[in-house]
């Protein structure tokens, strides 16, 4: 008999958390039980966040940032979603940085906090477009991981020193409103005062999620004259 997908996803997440926090297995079980109570449906999302494809992609972002930015003391990640793994990857690359993850989904923020068992990151629940997040925009590095489903960042860029904007061409995702066709279109939308990097990454289909012809785009820029 085939196992229910939910059970499969829970097992995958359990295995991934075990690898991360092998010494705290009881707590891993507790975290999974709590996620069950909050939303069994989030297990798939969480499961995907641990997928090898995402780890590779996080590595691409973090390694590219390391080539252009030297030891930021503070990093803000806007629209972080279930981006705990990304936050931890950033922490690995920039170990001295205080990293704040901002997302508007209160349940996701709570789950991220639970999984971050060593308290390596900070989490803030706020809507980047409508709430006042200006205190976080002054960080040495601001990353927006969700430009594809947010109002264009053009107005907010002048408040940032150095930023890394991430978008996709994944128009088939129902929540996406602001996809770009290619990295040139993304640069054109953002119009950075100083462009440090623009590139793309092929998101490959994995056993956990089908991603047809999907690409992620990254623009790293700087604001020379800030508001």
């Amino acid at each position: 008999m085939t196992e229910h997908p939910y059970i499969q996803h829970r097992k995958m997440v359990h295995r991934d958390l075990e690898v991360m926090y092998g010494r705290q297995l009881t707590r891993v079980e507790h975290v999974l039980d709590e996620i069950d109570e909050i939303s069994p449906g989030l297990m798939l999302t969480l499961c995907d966040s641990f997928a090898p494809r995402n780890r590779d992609h996080h590595g691409w972002v973090a390694d590219t940032l390391a080539q252009h930015i030297v030891s930021p003391a503070t990093i803000t990640v806007l629209g972080s979603g279930v981006g705990l793994m990304f936050g931890l990857r950033l922490k690995h690359t920039f170990p001295k940085a205080k990293i704040t993850m901002i997302d508007y989904n209160p349940w996701i923020c709570h789950i991220n906090e639970m999984i971050d068992m060593d308290n390596e990151l900070s989490f803030v629940c706020a809507d980047v477009v409508f709430d006042d997040v200006s205190e976080y925009l002054g960080a040495d590095l601001v990353i927006n991981a969700s430009c594809d489903n947010m109002w264009p960042m053009t107005d907010m860029l002048p408040k940032m020193k150095t930023y890394c904007m991430l978008s996709t061409n994944m128009e088939y995702v129902a929540t996406n409103r602001n996809c770009v066709f290619d990295v040139e279109e993304f640069v054109d939308q953002l119009k950075p005062q100083e462009l440090l990097y623009a590139g793309e990454y092929n998101l490959t289909t994995t056993d956990r999620l089908v991603l047809p012809n999907s690409k992620r785009f990254m623009v790293i820029g700087q604001t020379t004259q800030r508001d």
């Binding site: 449906g41 989030l42 508007y104 989904n105 809507d127 409508f130 109002w151 929540t175 409103r177």
Partner: protein
Amino acid sequence: MKWGTLYPAHYVNRLYHSLRKHVNCPFTFHCITDDATDIDSRISVLDLNQFHALDGIDSKWRFYTYQKLYTFDKSFLPGTRKVLLDVDVLIQNDLTEYLSQPFEKPTIIYNYWYEHDRLIRNFSNITTPFNSSFVVFEDDQLDMTYQYARKWFDKLSFSFGSLDKFLYYRFRDSFNFHPRKTVYAYNFGAEHPHDMEEEKFRPEYSVCIFNTSHGNGKDLRDTTDWAKQMWESYD
């Protein structure tokens, strides 16, 4: 509110007649419309075109039923208790006592038939558990939502695309909900997961909504059962 051609005047008239039957205290029934043809002469007709356009109204993104926001402006019927009803709702039972109580906060429909897990999974611009088919509010209680929408209309259209989503994602803590057993949905059910039969008559409820904006389910005019019979009884 009635705009465009989707709902003929008899929707408004039947709603008015149903309220006359089920609200036994003095009230004024206003219809904000761009076409008053065939509307019952006892109804106060307000010209939709007299309302000020919201900033960014020409937004290239859709803001579904933003027109309801006009009634949230504090200058609209100041100093009164307001009950905003969609024209395609069925009033089934007496609402006098319910509508006569104090409303400390604006009160809106929470879709109890909505799967909570779905909301958490899809917490974003594609879903909301709020439904503004039946909203009760006092005086200027909702003015902040109107002012907010005036300021951010374009961004709100882009980000949420509908009034119900806007109210949920930006103002959910400002609302109370109609109690359970008050409102159900003809096309979806009453309470997830145990009372979800579609098109079932639930006599203990006061209001039945049809909620066909998602393209699913039957509109009142397409029903052939108890709903049609009740609706036509309000002629």
